[in-house]
């Protein structure tokens, strides 16, 4: 039997008989009803919800740490730390150390 001829004939038969384009009655109403019933994923809404939740938990953690620092007697050790003005002076000296050493070299020449 000629398989290629059978293949050609069957494909030709399929081409000659295209499927029907008939649409069931009020199909569009069913589609619309199904679409309306499906919850649409609102990605921006989900993202903003997650942001608000994380902001609230961050505030809660901040308040807890603040309370802990305020009421914990060990945190008093921080009071013995050098005053902020000394700290800023030290920082300035460190940052400007290179510039000052260059300046002193220029003066020595």
């Amino acid at each position: 039997m000629n398989q290629d001829e059978l293949h050609r004939k069957l494909i030709a038969a399929a081409r000659r008989n295209p499927p029907s384009e008939r649409v069931p009655l009020s199909f569009e109403k069913r589609v619309l009803a199904r679409i309306r019933a499906c919850p649409v994923a609102d990605y921006w809404g989900l993202w903003s919800d997650a942001l608000w939740r994380s902001a609230a938990s961050c505030v809660a953690i901040m308040l807890l740490l603040g309370a802990w620092w305020w009421f914990n007697p060990a945190s008093g050790a921080l009071a013995s730390a050098p005053p902020a003005s000394n700290l800023s002076q030290d920082l300035e000296n460190t940052v400007l150390a290179a510039a000052e050493s260059e300046q002193s070299l220029d003066l020595s020449r």
Binding site: M1, L10, P19, E21, I35
Partner: protein, 191 residues
């Protein structure tokens, strides 16, 4: 004044779901014809077309208007039909022993005198449907698009998302698979 497709799509994206209805009315006949190529039962065909429309609605925001809406929708339709074929590939029929009398008569006519077996016969259409059901999902999709719908390889690549060489490879394999199925069909009947 009748609204254009662009207006309707913009309205749907703006939250007016009712504007989707004219698009459903306009393109459903084409989608039904496409789905009927891959599913036999009417209930399955309806499910496929509904699935296509729900996907189209959900993904409408991703429609870039670079190609016409119809092309975008047909790509979605082909993908949905392919998913349907893959989901139902286990239920493919395994034998040709249950051919109807008309189909057997057509095959017998073809065997005795090939030219007497008419291409426009309903039995031939039924037989090709049975043969296609035996193919793997990619083979069935390629044979349908390339040989029955007579689309170009480039067109198939665009519809399926496969590369042009992949379409060619799958077409080659699909023809080989089809030859095997036809050989099995004739062997079961005449050997």
């Amino acid at each position: 004044m009748e609204r254009t497709e662009t207006d309707l799509i913009a309205a749907v994206l703006g939250g007016d779901t009712a504007s989707f209805e004219p698009l459903v009315v306009k393109y459903s006949p084409r989608l039904f014809a496409t789905a009927r190529r891959y599913a036999r039962r009417e209930s399955e065909v309806e499910d496929i077309v509904q699935e296509i429309w729900v996907k189209a609605f959900q993904k409408l925001g991703g429609f870039r208007r670079e190609a016409p809406f119809e092309h975008w929708l047909m790509r979605l339709a082909v993908h949905t039909c392919y998913d349907f074929l893959r989901a139902h590939q286990r239920s493919r029929e395994a034998a040709f022993s249950d051919l109807f009398q008309a189909e057997e008569d057509w095959l017998e006519r073809f065997v005795s005198q090939p030219s007497s077996a008419a291409e426009d016969a309903d039995a031939a259409r039924q037989l090709v449907g049975r043969a296609l059901e035996q193919l793997s999902p990619p083979a069935r999709l390629v044979i349908t698009l390339l040989e029955i719908e007579e689309r170009s390889v480039k067109d198939i690549a665009s519809l399926t998302g496969w590369s042009v060489p992949l379409v060619k490879v799958r077409a080659f394999r699909a023809r080989a698979e089809m030859r095997k199925v036809l050989a099995k069909m004739t062997k079961e009947k005449y050997l």
